[in-house]
C-alpha cells in the first residue's frame, strides 16, 4: 500500500489532545491531532498546509520529540520512535531537525554565528575543535554565508541571514529529515527565493527529506513532491501539486485554494533569464 522503497518517516494514527481550563474551571478538550496518517519518502519533500490552529506545528513537535503524543506510532527508518527502543532516543532525534519561523527567537542572542552552528557538534562531542571549526566554515559556505561573519551576533544579521544560520545549525549534524515550520514566512520575496534555492541545492547534493509546513501555497509548486492538507487535526487530502491544484477534492482544500492571492497578471519573464 505504501510506495517502495520504505518511506523515511511513517506516522500512523497519531493523536494528541490538549485539555484547557484548570481544575476549578470547566474543562474542555482540543483534539490537536486526530488520527493522523502521513508518510515522507526519502530525498523528497512533503508539504503540510492548513490554516492556523489545524495542528501542523503540533505534528512537527511530536516528530522531533518536543511533545509526547497520546496515541499512535511514528516510524523512522524502521524504528518506532514512541516505543521504548533499544536505540537511545537522542541518537534518532539528531536525524530529525526542526527550523522555526522566528529565527530571532531560536538563536541565542549572546552567541556568535560560529558558536551557534558549532553547538550541536559540541553536544555530540563530535571531533576535535579544529575539525569542528572546519565543519562550521563548510556549513556556512553551503548556506551562502560569508565565513567573515563567523563572529557576528544574531542581531547583526538580517532576517534572511539569520534563517540561514538556523539552517546551517540544523544541517551540521547531517540529519535525514529537516522540518521547516513556516521557515519562509515573513521573509522578503527575493530572500525567500534565495533560501529555497539553498534548500534545493542541499537536497540535490545529499540525502535529505523536507517536511515543509506552511499556511501558504505559493512556493509549493517549485518545491514540493506531495502536498498534505490538514484541517482540524486530521489530514483531509494528500496529492501531488498538479493534481491538488487542478482537482481539489475536499471542500476545505477548495476554500484554501480560492483564498490564495496569485499573480495572474504576471509579467512573463520567467523564460527570459
Amino acid at each position: 500500500m505504501y510506495p517502495t522503497p520504505e518511506p523515511l518517516v511513517q506516522v500512523r494514527g497519531l493523536c494528541k489532545t490538549y485539555t484547557q481550563g484548570h481544575w476549578w474551571q470547566s474543562q474542555f478538550q482540543i483534539h490537536a491531532l486526530d488520527n493522523v496518517n502521513l508518510s515522507v519518502s526519502r530525498d523528497s519533500t512533503l508539504a503540510l498546509v492548513g490554516e492556523s490552529g489545524s495542528g501542523k506545528t503540533t505534528l512537527a513537535m511530536c516528530l522531533v520529540g518536543l511533545e509526547q503524543p497520546d496515541a499512535g506510532e511514528i516510524w523512522f527508518e524502521g524504528e518506532n520512535l514512541l516505543a521504548p527502543s533499544t536505540r537511545e532516543p537522542v541518537s534518532v532525534r539528531r536525524e530529525i531537525q526542526l527550523i522555526f519561523q522566528d529565527s530571532a527567537g531560536a538563536l541565542n542572542p549572546r552567541m556568535s554565528a560560529a558558536q551557534i552552528i558549532e553547538e550541536p557538534l559540541l553536544l555530540r562531542r563530535h571531533g576535535r575543535s579544529k575539525e569542528r571549526l572546519e565543519l562550521v566554515s563548510e556549513m556556512m559556505a553551503r548556506v551562502g554565508l560569508s565565513t567573515r561573519w563567523k563572529d557576528r551576533l544574531p542581531h547583526e544579521f538580517s532576517g534572511g541571514q539569520r534563517q540561514r544560520v538556523a539552517i546551517a545549525r540544523a544541517l551540521v549534524l547531517r540529519p535525514k529529515l529537516l522540518i521547516l515550520d513556516e521557515a519562509l514566512a515573513g521573509l522578503d520575496l527575493s530572500i525567500q527565493g534565495q533560501i529555497v534555492n539553498v534548500l534545493l541545492d542541499l537536497q540535490a547534493s545529499e540525502a535529505l527529506s523536507f517536511l515543509y509546513i506552511s499556511h501558504n501555497l505559493e512556493l509549493i509548486g517549485h518545491f514540493v513532491g506531495e502536498i498534505a492538507v490538514m484541517y482540524q487535526g486530521s489530514i483531509v487530502e494528500q496529492a501531488s501539486p498538479s493534481e491538488l491544484f487542478a482537482h481539489p477534492q475536499h471542500p476545505h482544500t477548495q476554500a484554501l485554494l480560492a483564498s490564495m492571492p496569485v499573480l495572474k497578471l504576471a509579467y512573463s519573464a520567467h523564460n527570459e533569464g
Binding site: 513532491g225 487542478a246 476554500a255 520567467h270
Partner: protein
C-alpha cells in the same frame, strides 16, 4: 519641485493620480534622516513624492528596510525621536501636516488619517475590545457614552463581528488572530477617516483569513470612499486590491504606475526582478517548475549607513550601465500615468 525643474520631459505635474486636480494627500520631496550619534546621520527616505486621490487604493511595495513603514509614520508625525524630517512637505486636504503641533496632530490621527498596524500588540490586553473601539470614537466626537457605544456596535456589525455581545466584551487574548486583526481595523475605521494607512495588515494571517480581511477593506472603499495606502512586500496581495502601485527601494520610490501596467510591463529593473521572484500561478500546476530554482535578486539591499555615489540598485541590476555608478537618477515620466527613477529612461 526640484524634480520637475531638473527634467524638461517631466512637466510641472510630476505626479500621477486619477485626477491631478483632486487629491487627498500630496507628499513632495519628503526626506527623513536618522541620527544615531552626532555626525552619524543617514538618509532613510530620499525625496519621496506621491499623491493619493480620494477613494484610491495605493499599494506601497518594497522589501523590508526599504522605508515603507518610515513613510507611513512620517505622514502622521509618529517617527521615533532619532528621526528627523529634513525636507519636503505633506499636504492633506490643503493643510501641511508637518507644521502641525502635537495637539493638532492628535485631532488628525484616527479621525482623518488612521493607521492599521502589522503588530497586533497595539491592543490593550486588560481592556475589553469593544471599549477600545468606543474609546477611539469618544476621543474624537463629543458624544455620550451610549451613542459612542451604539456607533461602535455598528462598526462591529460592518466588519462581520456584530450580532453578539461575546466578541464586544471579550479581551484581546480571548480572540483569534483574525478577529484581533478585525478589531484593529475597526479602531482604524471607527471615525470614518478619509485615508487609512494599512501597514502589512495581513502579514501574519493565514490565507483564508487574510482573503476575508482584504475583501472587507475593498468593500469599505466602495461604501465610504475611503482611500488606502496599503503597504506590503507581496506583489500578489497588492494585485488583489490596489489601483496603483509604488515600488520602493532603499528609501526611494523607484516606480509608480497603475497596477495593471506596472505588473505587465514593469519599467524599472528592480520592479522587474521583484516580480520575477514572485511565485507564478503556472508554477502550481505545471510540473516543469518542480525542483527548479527560483529567480532571485543577487546580493542584498544597500546599507543605509554607506552612501555610494550613483543609483542605489546598480550593484544588483542586470541592465547596469557605466553612467549608473556616476550619478543618481532623477524621476522621469515616460508616459502619462507612470513615473520611474532610472537612467535607462533618461532619468
Amino acid at each position: 519641485m526640484e524634480v520637475a525643474r531638473a527634467n524638461p520631459a517631466c512637466t510641472k505635474k510630476c505626479h500621477v493620480s486619477g485626477d491631478p486636480a483632486r487629491y487627498l494627500l500630496r507628499v513632495r520631496d519628503l526626506t527623513v534622516q536618522f541620527c544615531l550619534d552626532v555626525g552619524r546621520e543617514f538618509t532613510v527616505l530620499d525625496t519621496i513624492s506621491f499623491d493619493i486621490a480620494p477613494g484610491e487604493i495605493v499599494g506601497l511595495l518594497g522589501e523590508s528596510g526599504s522605508g515603507k513603514t518610515t513613510t507611513a509614520l512620517s505622514l502622521l508625525g509618529l517617527l521615533p525621536p532619532a528621526a528627523r524630517v529634513t525636507n519636503g512637505s505633506v499636504r492633506f486636504r490643503g493643510r501641511d501636516l508637518l507644521s502641525l503641533n502635537e495637539n493638532q496632530l492628535r485631532e488628525v490621527r484616527g479621525a482623518e488619517i488612521s493607521v492599521i498596524c502589522q503588530d497586533l500588540s497595539v491592543l490593550n490586553p486588560v481592556m475589553r475590545v469593544g471599549d477600545q473601539v468606543t474609546e477611539v470614537i469618544r476621543a474624537h466626537r463629543r458624544w455620550t457614552a451610549r451613542r459612542a457605544h451604539e456607533e461602535a456596535e455598528a462598526v462591529f456589525a460592518a466588519i462581520g463581528l456584530g450580532g453578539s455581545d461575546r466578541i464586544y466584551s471579550a479581551y484581546p487574548h480571548q480572540l483569534s488572530g483574525g478577529q484581533r486583526q478585525r478589531i484593529v481595523i475597526a479602531q482604524a475605521l471607527a471615525c470614518k477617516p478619509a485615508l487609512v494607512i494599512a501597514d502589512e495588515p495581513t502579514a501574519w494571517l493565514d490565507a483564508t483569513t487574510s482573503a476575508e480581511v482584504l475583501d472587507f477593506l475593498k468593500r469599505q472603499r466602495k461604501l465610504s470612499d475611503t482611500a488606502f495606502l496599503f503597504i506590503s512586500h507581496d506583489p500578489a496581495t497588492l494585485a488583489t486590491l490596489a489601483d496603483r502601485i509604488m515600488v520602493m527601494y532603499a528609501g526611494q520610490i523607484v516606480e509608480n504606475g497603475p497596477l495593471h501596467d506596472l505588473y505587465t510591463q514593469p519599467l524599472h529593473p528592480y520592479t522587474r526582478a521583484l516580480l520575477q521572484c514572485a511565485p507564478q500561478q503556472s508554477a502550481r500546476t505545471d510540473s516543469k517548475y518542480r525542483g527548479r530554482r527560483l529567480a532571485c535578486i543577487p546580493g542584498s539591499p544597500p546599507d543605509p549607513m554607506e552612501v555610494l555615489p550613483g543609483c542605489s540598485f546598480s550593484s544588483r541590476c542586470k541592465d547596469r550601465m557605466d553612467a549608473c555608478d556616476a550619478r543618481s537618477p532623477e524621476q522621469v515620466q515616460p508616459s502619462a500615468s507612470r513615473l520611474v527613477r532610472c537612467l535607462k529612461y533618461g532619468g
